[in-house]
Structures are given as structure tokens and as C-alpha cells.
């Protein structure tokens, strides 16, 4: 599948933003962070920028962005529509939570409750995003539970890394120590989920073949001897992306090291060895590396996924 930059940015950014909301709600509910205006402005500012920026960028690849509102109508059948509805509904509790924290200076009690509702809506939205991909039988690499697990773990992981940095920078030791444990745990969980995902998609499992696509399988091996067209068409540009597979073996270790291992090491360092400004610097570096790693991971998620239509253009099995 063609890895469109807008969709890669959308899924990573909005995942991180929703993940942040989950952890802000948890911190508020546990009373680990006071309703400090500066912290709130930073945290919600970054969180909402990631969410809104992501959602806006997802409309960039539309042929008719001005008709995007129509996408809220088909929630009964379409996961894309459900994602749209869920993301908009989530803004209500999240917005009230943020207002209460930043403007009213209140993040306990009802405010925390709103935060927790918002957190649940955030996770639901991330789930609907994952289902847009996991529902597609045409792309066996995506049509499995590891896709859903990946999105549900990576978003909160990314969010924990960012909120941890903020908590450390603002000197909320208790919050930072909880988030440190959460981030370390989620980094390990996410790495395991991605390893399982890669093991599955490279495990030689076959859904459809050139034989079943053409109905000629009983005659032996089917190869295309003449293409309908000399130049790439929409199908080949959108679904026949091949560049990445050549580099996938190199890019997977990059995603693993930058996205999970180095952030894990840096965050673990701030547990006892490094403190003060050095700890903030280490966590900032952890965030940066994590983000780079997740971009590579998301790029691979698209680029490595083979679509059934490629069977008509010379691919033997998907």
C-alpha cells in the first residue's frame, strides 16, 4: 500500500494526542498533578494540536475535503464514519476537562470524571482507527488482531512518553514516577505487539493467490504475460507500492531501536541515574527518538502491506 504522508502523520499524531489525554485523565483522577494552568496549557496545547492537526491532515488526501462532513452519516456500516463520529464526540468531554483544568483551576472530582470519560472516548477513537485497517480482508497483513493491538498500545505509549517529559519538566515527581513505569511497560508491550505483527505478516500465511484471483489456478502457475497498460495506473500507484519491501529488512531494526529500545534505555536512566535538567533532556531525546521510530513503523505498516489487487499484476500470493 502507498504510504501517504498525510495518513502516516494523521495516525501517529492523533494516536499520540489521544494517548496524552488518557494519561492526563489518569493523573487528574489520582490527584497526582495540581490543576496548574501552565502545565495544563502545555499538556492540552500539545495534545489538542496533535489530535486536531492529525484529523485535519487526514482530510488533505480527500478529493473533496469540503464534503468531509458527510462522513459522519454512515456510522451503522462504516468504520471510517464511526471514527469521524467518535473523534468529534470525544472533543466534548475532553474540551470540558481541559477548560476546567486550565480556566477553572479544577481537575479533581467532576473534572476528573469528565477526563476519564474523555479518555475512554479517546481509546474508542483509536480503536475505530485501527478497525479501518483491520476490517480490510483485501490486505491480510492488516486483517488481524495485531493491527488493533498495535494501535491501542502505541497511542497510549507515545502519550505516556510525552506527558512524562512534561511532568518531569514541571517537577511533578510522583506523576513522573507513575508515568515512567507506564511508559517503560508500554514500550515493552508495544515492541512485543509489533514483533508479533511482523512475525505474522512474514509467516508465509496466504489468503489469496494469482490462481484464485484469475480462477486459473487449476491450470498451474499463473503469470501475467501482458499488462493492460504500459504505465502505472491508479491501482498500481495506490496499492502496488514496492519500494519499501526492498528496504523493509533494514527499516524494521531502525523502527525497533529508535521507537522502543533507545527510549526505554533513556527513560530507565532517568529513574535513578540521571536527574534534574539532564533528566528532562534525556526524556526529550526519548520523545524525539520514539516519534522518529513510530514514523518508520507506520511507514512500514503501509508499505509492507500487500493488497489482493496486486495478484492481477504479477504478485503470486497475498
Amino acid at each position: 500500500m502507498h504510504p501517504a504522508k498525510s495518513v502516516i502523520f494523521f495516525t501517529t499524531a492523533s494516536g499520540a494526542g489521544y494517548g496524552m489525554m488518557v494519561w492526563l485523565a489518569v493523573l487528574a483522577a489520582l490527584g497526582l498533578v495540581p490543576a496548574d494552568m501552565a502545565f495544563g496549557l502545555f499538556a492540552f496545547g500539545i495534545g489538542f494540536t496533535l489530535i486536531v492537526g492529525g484529523l485535519l491532515s487526514s482530510t488533505f488526501h480527500l478529493g473533496h475535503p469540503e464534503r468531509a462532513w458527510r462522513a459522519f452519516s454512515q456510522w451503522r456500516s462504516s468504520w471510517l464514519s464511526r471514527e469521524g463520529v467518535s473523534s468529534v464526540v470525544a472533543f466534548l468531554p475532553l474540551g470540558l476537562f481541559a477548560l476546567s483544568w486550565v480556566v477553572m483551576g479544577e481537575n479533581g472530582g467532576n473534572a476528573a470524571l469528565l477526563g476519564l470519560v474523555g479518555a475512554a472516548m479517546s481509546l474508542l477513537t483509536v480503536f475505530t482507527t485501527s478497525m479501518i485497517y483491520a476490517q480490510l480482508k483485501t490486505i491480510p497483513a492488516w486483517h488481524n488482531g495485531w493491527t488493533v493491538a498495535g494501535y491501542l498500545v502505541l497511542g497510549p505509549m507515545n502519550g505516556a512518553v510525552i506527558v512524562l517529559l512534561l511532568a518531569q519538566a514541571f517537577g511533578y515527581a510522583e506523576a513522573a514516577s507513575l508515568l515512567r513505569m507506564a511508559a517503560l511497560g508500554l514500550l515493552v508491550a508495544a515492541l512485543l505487539v509489533k514483533l508479533a505483527y511482523w512475525a505474522r505478516i512474514h509467516g508465509g500465511r496466504v489468503t489469496s493467490t494469482a490462481g484464485s484471483a484469475t480462477g486459473l489456478g487449476h491450470l498451474g502457475k499463473v503469470t501475467m504475460s501482458a499488462s493492460p497498460h504500459d504505465t502505472d495506473n491508479y491501482l498500481l500507484r495506490e496499492m502496488g507500492f514496492r519500494v519499501a519491501r526492498k528496504h523493509a529488512a533494514k527499516l524494521r531494526p531502525i523502527a525497533i531501536v529508535a521507537g522502543f529500545l533507545l527510549p526505554f534505555a533513556l527513560i530507565a536512566l532517568t529513574h535513578s541515574i540521571v536527574g534534574g535538567n539532564a533528566a528532562v533532556l534525556a526524556l526529550a531525546l526519548a520523545w524525539l527518538l520514539c516519534q522518529v521510530g513510530l514514523y518508520v513503523e507506520r511507514w512500514l505498516f503501509f508499505a509492507e502491506a500487500k493488497h489482493a489487487v496486486t495478484l492481477y499484476y504479477g504478485e503470486q500470493a497475498v
Binding site: 488526501h61 454512515q74 456500516s77 471510517l80 489469496s208 484464485s212 486459473l216 495506473n233 496499492m239 492481477y312
Partner: protein, 249 residues
């Protein structure tokens, strides 16, 4: 609404394509383009049509495949590929706007281009590559089964079939109601063992493909009427040839 019709539609209009007859001339694709670029989904945009990399929107694409059973037997098969108007069309249910729909009255899958947002998800959901995005119009386009031709009362009755069917010079394409077991197309499918493409994808396609009939085989599995060369005999050759043969053997 992008929910599918609640019950399977009674009428299932579709195509039956005989892979034994198709000669790969692309006439069906050309006439499809010709009709539809002035029809319901007009235009079928071309990009850079006279340049180095011509490309554009087509509803019908003709591939050519070779098969090899590993024992020296091969076939060449021309293979027209277009929308199969599936019963469980995944391109319909994924649509977030309601632009993609399946008609209850005859099962034809269509796009309402006035409300399509061009998100392309339907093309991701289709295993057959039946949907093509029109870059110029920003909407998705697909085979309409010539819905503006098959019901058109301004045309003589014999012309009320999809453009690809009426133009096929070899008679490889048939059109009819595959929901009616007594229709000509259903009988043809039954007689020739017509197949669904990628049934494992669970789309329940309506269109059927008739596989090539088994090839007739002659002696020792070779093609029938193959010449038997007997290179060691000079019988019947001319004087000089016999003379050369004698010297050299």
C-alpha cells in the same frame, strides 16, 4: 445508505465472461471507455493522453496470463477485469458518506459522485481493483454495468446490453440475470462450470468467468496433429541431397 440491501437482491444483473473465447483485443475496454465517458460517470478522465506517460480512468482492463503446470503444458488466457457487482460488496459498506450503494432492484453497485469525498477507502476494500480514482474530479469511479444503456428505451432492444457486451467481436461476453436460475447466463454458467473470482474474500461476486476448456491432447501428451520428424531417413529426397547424405553418414 451504505448498508447493503437487507436480503440478497432477487435480480442479480451481471456478466459472464468466456475465457476460452476472449481473444484479448481490448475492444470491450475501448467501447466501455467510449460509452461511459459520455454516460452517467462522465468524464472518464485521461491524464497526459498524448504524452510520454498516458494514464486515465478505465472501468475495464484486459490482462493476459500464461499458465504453466510444470510439465510442459501451458495456456495463454486473455482476462478482462471489471466490477463483479458483488452481493456482499465490501466497497459499499466501508463508504463513510453513503456515496457507494448497491441497488435493491437489480443489484448493480454504483457511486453517487455528488456526495463522494474521494477518500479512496472503497478501492482499498475491493480485491478486484474495480474502482479507479479520478484525479481530476476528486471522486471514485467504477463500472455502472451501463445502467444508462441497459434500460434506455431510446435504443433498440438488442442494444440494451452493456457496451462491452455489444462490442465484443468474439462473443466472449454475455449479460443477464444471474439471480434467475433459468436465465441464459445462468444456464451457461452451469454448463461450463463458471467460477467466482477469489471466493475466499467473501464478497460473493455476481459475475462469473468460464475457464478455458481442457485442451485436447494427441500422442504422448503432445498437441494433436503434430508432425513426426524422422530425420535419419533420406527417402524421398532429391539426388544431390541423397548423395550428400551418403557421403556424410
Amino acid at each position: 445508505m451504505t448498508c447493503l440491501p437487507k436480503n440478497p437482491t432477487e435480480k442479480k444483473l451481471g456478466l459472464v465472461i468466456d475465457l476460452d473465447i476472449c481473444v484479448g483485443c481490448h475492444a470491450c475496454a475501448v467501447n466501455c471507455k467510449e460509452w461511459n465517458t459520455a454516460g452517467k460517470s462522465a468524464p472518464l478522465t485521461d491524464y497526459d493522453p498524448y504524452g510520454k506517460k498516458p494514464d486515465g480512468v478505465w472501468f475495464n482492463r484486459i490482462h493476459t496470463y500464461e499458465t504453466d503446470d510444470g510439465q510442459g503444458n501451458g495456456t495463454t488466457v486473455h482476462f478482462p477485469r471489471s466490477c463483479l457487482h458483488c452481493e456482499d460488496a465490501p466497497c459499499v459498506t466501508v463508504c463513510p458518506t453513503g456515496a457507494s450503494y448497491k441497488r435493491t432492484e437489480d443489484g448493480i453497485v454504483l457511486v453517487n459522485e455528488d456526495i463522494c469525498i474521494g477518500c479512496k477507502l472503497c478501492s482499498w476494500a475491493c480485491p478486484y481493483g474495480a474502482r479507479e480514482y479520478d484525479e481530476a474530479e476528486g471522486v471514485m469511479k467504477k463500472c455502472t454495468l451501463c445502467v444508462d444503456k441497459i434500460y434506455n428505451e431510446n435504443l433498440p432492444e438488442t442494444s440494451r446490453v452493456p457496451a462491452c457486451v455489444s462490442t465484443c467481436p468474439a462473443g466472449a461476453r454475455s449479460f443477464g440475470d444471474l439471480g434467475d436460475p433459468d436465465s441464459e447466463v445462468s444456464k451457461l454458467v452451469a454448463a461450463r462450470g463458471g467460477v467466482e473470482l477469489m471466493p475466499e474474500q467473501g464478497t460473493k461476486p455476481v459475475n462469473r468467468y468460464l475457464p478455458p476448456r481442457p485442451r485436447k491432447k494427441g500422442e504422448e501428451g503432445k498437441a494433436p496433429r503434430m508432425l513426426n520428424h524422422s530425420d535419419d531417413s533420406a527417402d524421398g529426397a532429391g539426388l544431390i541431397a541423397r548423395w550428400v547424405d551418403k557421403i556424410l553418414s
